[in-house]
């Protein structure tokens, strides 16, 4: 059992890019503190690498060749792709873990047709979580993308199967691996409705996620999700894959819908791998 940490968190660019615009700075700092506690948790288990399951936003893939699932096997990655001042994160190189990543790819391929890429540019979907979870950028990162942007999107049961395959692959490694799923839950980012959040929908989803209710998680459909949780809701795929990889219930460490300037219900949760 070499998966030593599994969690999920938000990744919206406003979390860092609009930090100074927030009126409720106490709540913002409470959110940041919850993320920092996850940093401590990750450091405490001393992983060799961190797998970040993200919803890529056209930083690397386009509709000319869009993989449903892809894993980054490069020696190093660059990010953020966005204007650094806009995102509030300096551009930098982040170490990869090519040998470990290739082992994961080979094992996952036993059951899921995953793509791989030796070049990977990080956007806010990975840079924002790293900014809080590995702020020294010294922990090798294995990026994973699930296409949540360009429909047709992978079915949720395939996202679950991908998470299961990822866990099996991690367990085959002697190295200690941390895993984080990042994304929004309900949100309407990059539209005039930015800041709209369906808190009841979010909390119902998180309840299902953190008690490993696979049947309920896989019962969501994109038409309903789009109507009730926005196009940002398609990113539940990253959380579902993380839950499948964790194979265990979890605990909600932080959630608030009261920071809409970040354009997402700010979420931090951790799966209890010892369960």
């Amino acid at each position: 059992m070499t998966l030593v940490y599994a969690g999920v968190c938000s990744h919206a660019p406003g979390i860092t890019g609009r930090a100074d615009l927030v009126q409720n700075k106490a709540l913002r700092d409470e959110f940041y503190a919850a993320l920092d506690e996850e940093r401590r948790q990750i450091e405490a288990v001393q992983p060799a690498a961190i797998v970040v399951i993200a919803a890529e936003h056209f930083a690397n893939f386009f509709m000319d060749n869009m993989p449903a699932y892809c894993i980054g096997t490069g020696e190093k990655h660059q990010g953020p792709i966005e204007d650094p001042d806009w995102l509030g994160i300096e551009r930098r190189e982040v170490p990869g873990a090519p040998e470990l990543a290739l082992i994961l790819v080979k094992e996952i391929m036993q059951t899921v047709d995953v793509a791989y890429a030796e070049e990977w540019r990080f956007d806010h979907g990975i840079m924002v979580p790293l900014h809080f979870l590995t702020p020294r950028y010294d922990l090798p990162v294995i990026p994973v993308n699930i296409n949540c942007q360009g429909p047709p999107l992978t079915p949720l049961h395939r996202a679950w199967a991908f998470g299961e395959a990822l866990r099996r692959a991690c367990d085959a490694l002697p190295e200690r691996i941390a895993l984080v799923g990042t994304g929004g839950i309900s949100h309407w980012p990059a539209t005039p409705d930015s800041g709209r959040i369906n808190e009841a929908w979010d909390r119902a989803f998180l309840d299902r996620l953190l008690c490993q209710d696979q049947q309920a998680l896989l019962s969501y459909d994109d038409v309903t999700t789009y109507r009730e949780a926005g196009q940002g809701g398609f990113e539940i795929r990253t959380y579902i894959a993380a839950a499948a990889a964790a194979r265990s219930p979890g605990t909600l460490k932080f959630y608030t819908a009261e920071l809409p300037i970040f354009a997402v219900g700010c979420t931090v949760a951790r799966f209890d791998l010892a369960h």
Binding site: L21, F62, M63, E82, D123, T191, P192, G195
Partner: protein, 111 residues
């Protein structure tokens, strides 16, 4: 409509700092490589966020492009709303405006 071409141009631009410099110097020349309608070409040459939003450019691509143009966040939201007022609802994609154009943040309402 060649929305694919519009988005391909922006996707490429967003990823390439060298291309971004060329775009600042002469955007028109870069657009020659893409099969665009007159309106699409004009929108890209002028950085018309409102029209590009209505044409259906994916919000993530458009948001990165707006950041490249140095457009402040609330101004970016306003430009999309103005695009809808001027040109009608979003014509393609999944980034449609779902409300009446109201703000969802206290910070924006109070600015």
């Amino acid at each position: 409509m060649s929305l694919y071409q519009v988005q391909k141009f922006l996707y490429t631009l967003n990823r390439d700092s060298g291309l971004q410099q060329q775009c600042r110097e002469n955007a028109e020349r870069l657009l020659d490589d893409y099969d665009l309608t007159i309106d699409e070409r004009k929108a890209l040459a002028n950085g018309d966020i409102g029209l590009l939003y209505v044409l259906g450019v994916n919000g993530q691509i458009l948001m990165h492009y707006a950041a490249f143009l140095g457009i402040e966040w609330f101004d970016y939201l306003d430009r999309m709303r103005e695009g809808v007022r001027k040109h009608g609802p979003v014509r393609a994609g999944v980034y449609a405006m779902t409300g009446g154009g109201e703000s969802f943040t206290e910070e924006e309402r109070r600015r």
